[in-house]
Symmetry: D2
Subunit: 435 residues, 4 copies
C-alpha cells in the first residue's frame, strides 16, 4: 500500500482498529446467540457489550501477541482486560480463530466493494456528463492507430460508460461472492457450536451463512472477487491508454487538466504530460497482479492450510486501496479532461477526404461496379492523397472511370459528415436509456 496511491476511507477498512472492532462484534453477537441457545449465561453475553464504545489498544494487543504468538488469543486476552476475566470467560466459546478471521476478511472485502461500487458510480456520472457534452463532437475513429471513419467524442465517452457499467455489475456480483460468514468450528462441522450462532452473527453483520465451510470460507469466492477487480483495472487501463494517445503531441485532441502551479518537468517547462493516465496504466498492472495469486490460493490442503493468509494480508488491502485510488483518479481525469474539438477536426482532415473512401467504395459497388474494380478505383485515388497530398474528392471527380459510375452530386454526398453521426442518438439510447 503506497500512501500516495491511497485514500483514507479504504485504508481505514484495513486498519488494526477496524479489524479488532469487527472481531469484537463477531464475538459479541456470537455470545448473544450462545446465550439465546442457553449455552452461556445471558449476563455474560450482555457484559461483552460493555466494550461497545471502547477503543481497543492496538499496541497492547501487539504486546500480548508477542508473547502468545497468536493474534486472536491476544485480542481475547485484551478484551478480558477490559470487561474482566469473569465476564469474558464465555467469549469465543466453541469457536475457532478462523471463524473470526475469515468472517472479518469477508466483511472488509464487502466494505471495500461498497467503496469501489460508489467509485464506479461516480465515474459513471462523470463519463455520462462528458458523453452528453460531446455527443456531437466529431473526431476521427481509428483502427490500428490509423484514420478510419468519423465518430464522435461522445461515443468514446459512451463506450467507456457502457464498459464501466458492466464493471459495476461485476463488482456487485463480486460483492455478493464474498458476503458470507462462517462460524462452523475447526473443520466446519459445527461440532462445538450450533449453526444458529453463525446465522445470528451473519444476519447482524449483513452476511449470508456460508452453506458449507471447512476451517475456512472457500477461496474460490475470493478468487472471483479479485478477478473482477482485475477486469475493472483492465478497463481503467483501456481508458487511460485512450487519453494518453489523445494527449500525445501529434494528436493533442485532449489533455489532462493542468493546474497553473504544476511543474511538468524540471527541465522542459512547456510539457504537459499525461502523467495521471500513465500512472493509471501502472496502477492497473498492480491491481491485475493479484489475480493469479488469488487463484493459487483456492487449492488449500484438506480443511485448510494457511498459505493464503500472507497473500491476503497483502492483496486484501493493496489491491482494494489501489483500485479505489485509481477509480477516483480516473473520475477526476474524466471530469476535468480538456477536450479540443478543433484539433479533432483538423486531425480528421489531415489526409483530405480520405476517411470517406469506405463510402465511395460502397457507392461504386451499389452503382454496379464489381467489388474488385471498385476497390481498385478507390485505392488508385486514395494513393494520390496519401502520397501527394491531393484532395480525395477532387481526384474522384477527375477520374473518368469513377464519374462513369457516380455523378458529381453523388460523389459530393459521400463527404457529408452527418452520414456518420446519424445513429449517435440511437446508440446513446442503447447505452443511457431513453432520456
Amino acid at each position: 500500500m503506497i500512501p500516495r496511491y491511497s485514500r483514507p476511507d479504504m485504508v481505514a477498512i484495513w486498519s488494526p482498529e477496524t479489524k479488532f472492532r469487527i472481531w469484537y462484534e463477531i464475538e459479541a453477537h456470537a455470545c448473544d446467540a450462545q446465550a439465546e441457545l442457553g449455552v452461556i449465561p445471558k449476563a455474560n453475553a450482555e457484559a461483552v457489550w460493555k466494550a461497545k464504545d471502547v477503543e481497543f489498544d492496538v499496541a497492547r494487543i501487539d504486546e500480548i501477541e508477542a508473547v502468545t504468538k497468536h493474534d486472536v488469543i491476544a485480542f481475547l486476552t485484551h478484551l478480558a482486560e477490559i470487561i474482566g476475566n469473569e465476564d469474558a470467560r464465555f467469549v469465543h466459546q466453541g469457536m475457532t480463530s478462523s471463524d473470526v478471521l475469515d468472517t472479518t476478511f469477508n466483511i472488509q472485502l464487502v466494505r471495500a466493494a461498497d467503496i469501489i461500487i460508489a467509485d464506479l458510480e461516480a465515474l459513471l456520472d462523470a463519463l455520462k456528463r462528458r458523453a452528453v457534452e460531446h455527443k456531437d463532437t466529431v473526431r476521427i475513429g481509428r483502427s490500428h492507430g490509423i484514420h478510419a471513419e468519423p465518430t464522435t467524442m461522445g461515443l468514446t465517452f459512451a463506450r467507456f460508460y457502457a464498459e464501466m457499467d458492466r464493471n459495476l455489475a461485476r463488482m456487485k456480483v463480486a460483492r455478493q461472492e464474498v458476503a458470507t460468514g462462517a462460524i462452523s468450528g475447526a473443520v466446519g462441522t459445527f461440532a462445538n457450536i450450533d449453526p444458529a450462532v453463525e446465522a445470528h452473527v451473519c444476519e447482524k453483520l449483513g452476511l449470508t451463512p456460508e452453506p458449507i465451510s471447512t476451517q475456512v470460507i472457500p477461496r474460490d469466492r475470493h478468487a472471483a472477487f479479485f478477478a473482477a477487480m482485475g477486469v475493472v483495472a483492465s478497463s481503467i487501463e483501456n481508458i487511460a491508454i485512450e487519453i494518453r494517445h489523445m494527449q500525445r503531441t501529434e494528436v493533442l485532441e485532449a489533455e489532462e487538466f493542468f493546474s497553473k502551479g504544476q511543474k511538468g518537468s524540471s527541465a522542459m517547462p512547456h510539457k504537459r504530460n499525461p502523467v495521471l493516465t500513465e500512472n493509471l496504466t501502472g496502477l492497473a498492472r498492480l491491481v491485475r497482479m493479484a489475480v493469479v495469486p488469488a487463484m493459487e490460493n483456492v487449492a488449500l490442503w484438506h480443511e485448510r492450510d494457511i498459505s493464503h493468509s500472507s497473500v491476503e494480508r497483502n492483496i486484501g488491502p493493496d489491491t482494494t486501496v489501489t483500485l479505489d485510488f485509481a477509480l477516483a483518479r480516473l473520475t477526476q481525469v474524466i471530469d476535468k479532461l480538456v477536450v479540443y474539438p478543433e484539433t479533432m477536426m483538423k486531425n480528421m482532415n489531415k489526409f483530405k477526404g480520405l476517411v470517406m473512401s469506405q463510402r465511395v467504395l460502397l457507392a461504386l459497388t451499389q452503382a454496379g461496379v464489381s467489388r474488385e474494380d471498385a476497390y481498385r478505383l478507390v485505392q488508385r485515388n486514395a494513393m494520390k492523397v496519401w502520397e501527394q497530398g491531393a484532395d480525395f474528392k477532387t481526384e474522384l471527380l477527375g477520374d473518368a472511370e469513377v464519374t462513369a459510375a457516380l455523378s458529381a452530386e453523388e460523389i459530393e454526398e459521400k463527404f457529408d459528415l452527418g452520414y456518420h453521426t446519424k445513429h449517435v442518438d440511437t446508440i446513446f439510447e442503447r447505452v443511457f436509456g431513453k432520456s
Copy 2:
C-alpha cells in the same frame, strides 16, 4: 491444443469448418435484413441461402487467402464461387470484417460455455452422488495437513459440490458476458449499415446486440469470460490436490480408479499413481495462464487494434478445450474414485483420541476451569499421546486435575464420534436443498 487433452465436441467448435459456417450464417442473415430494409434486392438475399447445405472448401479458401492476404475476402470470394458472382454481389455490403469475426468469436465462446456448463452439471451429479454415498463415512478433518477434528467424506464431496455449483453460476454469467454480437461498421457508428441488420442477425443467432461497439466488441467481456474459467480451473486444482493427498502412500484414504491392464510405471509395478489428478493440477495452470493475457487484451488502441487477435486464436480454443477436458476427466475421477473408509478410521486413530482434545478443552472451560488452565491440562496429556503413543482418554482419566473438573462419564462422552457428525444433515440440506 494438445490432442490427448482434447474432446471432439469442443474441438469442433474451433474448426475452420465451423468458423466458415458461422461466417456464412451471419452474412446470410445480414442479407435478409438488408433486403427487408430495401437496401439490397430480396432475390439476392434469398440466393445466398443456396449455400445452406454446402460444405465450404477450407483448402480453397486458404488458397485464395494466400493471394488476397485477407481471410474474410477469401471466404466471400469462395462463397461467390458457389452461389455465383451475380448473386453474391450484395453479400457483406456495408459490413466490416470485424463485424463477422467478432460476432463469430462470441458465438464460439457461447457454444464453448454451453459445453462447459454441461460439463459442470455432469460433475455436480457425480459429486452429489458420492456425497450422499459417503455422507456418514467418518474421516479426520485436517488443517495444515495435521489432524484436527472428525468430519465425513460426504462433507468433502459436498463442499466440492457447493464450490462447483458456484462455478456453474459463474459460467452462466460468463456466457451472458460474451453472448453479444455487433454489426456496426468500421468504427461502430452504423454509418454504412442500419442497426436493424445487427438486431436481426443477433436474434437469429441467439445473441444480444452489443449496445455500443467500435470496430470490435469490447474486450472486458472476454477478460471476464476467461477469468471465470480461471476460477473454475482453480477449483479443479483444489479437488485434484485433495485426491492426490488422499492417495499418497501414508494416507491412502482413496485411489483413482486403476484399470487392470494399466501399467503404472515401467519400473515399479505396485505403484498406483494419482496421475489423473496430477494431470488436472497441470491443466488448471494451463487454463489459468490465459487470464492475464485476456486482461491485457482489454486496452486496445482507439476503435481497435489487432493485438488481441493472435492471443485469442490461441486461448480461445486452447483454454476452452483444456477446461472441457479437465472437467470431464475430473467427473470420471470423482465417479470412479475408490474410497477406503476403513483406512480413514485407522488414520483418525493414529494418535489415540488426540483429535478430541478440542472437545476436552471446551468441557474443561465449561466446567469452570480457566481457559489458560484448561489449555495447559489438555496440552499436558496430549503431549503424552504425541510423544509416547499413549491413549488420550486413558491419560485424561488418570489426570487428577482433569478428573477434579470432569467425571469419567463426562470424559467418555467427549470421545463420541456422533458429536461431530450431528449437523451433517443440516449442512447437506444447505448444500443440496431439502431431499
Copy 3:
C-alpha cells in the same frame, strides 16, 4: 501452436518423429555405456544401432500406447519390433521413463534455444544495419508521448539493438540452464544404473549431467528458461509498440513494408495498418503467459509428481514456436521498415522551436538567472508557442528579461540541432564497439 504463427524448423523439434529419434539415441548411447561397464552384452548394445537410420512408425507406437497406456513402453515395444526381441532385451535396463523423457525435453529446449539465439542474431544484424543507416536521421525524442528533445532514429535502432543483445546473452544463459541430462533412476540415487551411463549419454548428446536429480530434472531450470523467453517477448513488445506509434496517422514517421498486392482492409483501401507489430504485441502476451505456470511447475511433490507434464506439453512447443516466429517476423519488420525522415523533421517542428526550451533554461541559469526565474521566463514564452502557434526563438528574442541575460547570438545558438547529436558517435561506439 497456431500454424500461421509457426515456422517449420522449430515445429520439427516438437514432432513425434524428433521425440522418438531422441529417445532412441538416449537408449542406444545408454546401451553402449552399459556394455562398456559390462552390465549388458556388447553385441546387444551394438544391435540397437541397427535402427539408426530407421524412421520410427509413429502410428504404430500410438497404437501400442493405446493398449499399454505408457508411452515409453510403447516405444520400446516398437523398437523391439524393429531390432528383434532378443537384441532389444537389454534396452532401457535400469532406467526409468523419466530419465528418457526429461533428458529429451531438455534436448528439445536446447535446440529451441539454438534457433532463438540464431533468430536474435539475425534480428541484431537488421537492427545494426538500420541503426547505422539512420544514425544521423534526426527525430524528436518523446517522453510521455510529448515532444522532449531531438534524438536520432539511429539511436532508436541502437537502443533496441542493445536490448536485444542483452536478450541474446540471457538466452545463452537460459540455454545453459537446461542443457543437462539425467539418467539417475526412479528417485535419482543411481541404484540401478551407474552414473557412468548418464555421463556417457550426456557427453554424446551435448549435455552436462544434472548434478543431483530425483526422478526428474529440477524444474527451477525450466522456470528460468521460460522467464528468459518472457523477457525477450517483452522486448519484442517494446519495439512493436514503438513502430505502431510511428505508423499512426498523425505521426507517420515510419511504416511497415506494404506489398503492392496486399489489401489492408476490406473496407478502407487506403489504410496501411501496422498489423505485423500489432500481431507481435499479441504474440508477446502469449510468450509471457508461460512464465507463471513454468514457475508453478517448480514445486513438485517429493521426488516428482507429474503435474508439470501437461503444462510442458503445451508451453514447450507453443512458447518456443511463438517466440521463434515473433523474432523472425520482427526481423522482417525491422529489415524492411519504411522510414520517413522528412516527416520526422516536420513533426519535430510542430511547435516551433519549443523542444529547445531545456537548452534555453540551462543557458539562462548559466547566465546567472536563478533557477526559479529561468523556469518562469522559459515557461512564459513557451506558452505563447503552445497556445498561439508563435515561434519560440522569435518570442525569446523579443522578451526583454531574456535578452537581458542572453545575447541574440547566444539565443540563436540554442537552436542548433548539432548540439543534440554531438554524442551520437560516442553512444554508437558504446553499443556496437569501435568500428
Copy 4:
C-alpha cells in the same frame, strides 16, 4: 510491505532517508565531474559536500513537494536550504530528474540483491550442514506421493542446496543486470551533459554506465531482475511444500521447530502446524506476482512514459522485502528442522518390502525372464503386499515362477538398503565438491 514479513535492513533500503541520501550522492558526484570538466565552478561542487553528514528532513521535503508537485525539485530546494542558494545553483545542472531517479532505483536494487545474495549464502550453509548431517538417513523416495525407492534425507537437503546454489548464480547475474546508472539527459543524448559525468558518478557508486539509455534505463533489465526473484521464490515454495508434506500427521518425518511457549491453535493444543512453510508458500506467490507487471513495464512509449513508476514503487520494496524475509525464514526452518529418522524407516516399511520391486523386476530380466513376464511376476506378488499386507520378500520366496529364475540368496540381496545408497557420496561430491 507487511511489517510482519519484513526485516529492517531491507526495509531501510527503501526508506525516504536512504533514497534522499542516494539522490544527494548522485548530485554531489555529478557536481564534482562537472567541475572537473570546467562546466561549473569547483568551489560550488565542493560546497555540495557540506551536506555530507546532514540528515535530510523528509517532512520538509514532503512539504515542499506538496507545493511544487515534483519530488526532485523539492529535494533540490531542501538541499539549497542546507548549503545555501548560492552554492546550490549548479546542482543538477544539465540533468533530468530521471537521471537521478533511475540511477537511484538501480542502486537500491543492487543493495537489495546484495542482501538476497547473503540470504542465499546463509541458506546454503544451513542446507549443506543438514545435508551432511543426514547424508545416510534413509527415507523412502516418492513419486506421485507414492513410495518408490529408498533415498536419503541428505540427498533431499543436497538437491535443495543445488537448486538454491543455482538461484545464487541467478541472483548474481540479476544483480549485474541492474548495476547500471544513467546520466544522459532528457532523451538520452547527453545533449546537456557530458558522458564523463555519468562515468564518474557510476564509478563512484559501483555501477556501470548504461550503454544507451533514453530518459530511462531500459526496463528489460528490471524484468529480468524480478523474473530471477520469481524463480528463487518458486524454489522456496518447492522446499516449503516438501516440509509441509513431511510434517503431515500421517507422514511426520520432520517438524518445524516448535518453541515451548507457542500455542499452535486456540482450540487444538496438540497440533504442531507447519505454519512457517505454509507461510512461505504464500510469500512465494507474492514474490512471483511481480514478474508479469515487471515484464509489462518493458514496453514504455518512445523515450519513456511513467507507467512503470507506480508499479516499481510497489514491487521494488515489496518484492525484495518479502523475498529477503522468506529466505531468512526458510533458513531458520532448515536450520532447526526436527528430523525423525525412525519414522522415516517406519514409513518406508509400511508396505513390507514393496519398494524393492524395481530391483526384483530388473533381476528377473537379467536372469533371462522377458520384460513382460518379469513385470507380471512382480506385479502379482506386489498386489498381495498391497492388498493383504503380506511381506514382499516372503511372497517372492514362495513363488515358484520367481524362484525358478532367482535363488533365495539373490532375492535376499535385493532387499539390501546399501544398494540404494551406494552412490550418495558420488552425488554429494557432485553437489558440494570434494570434501
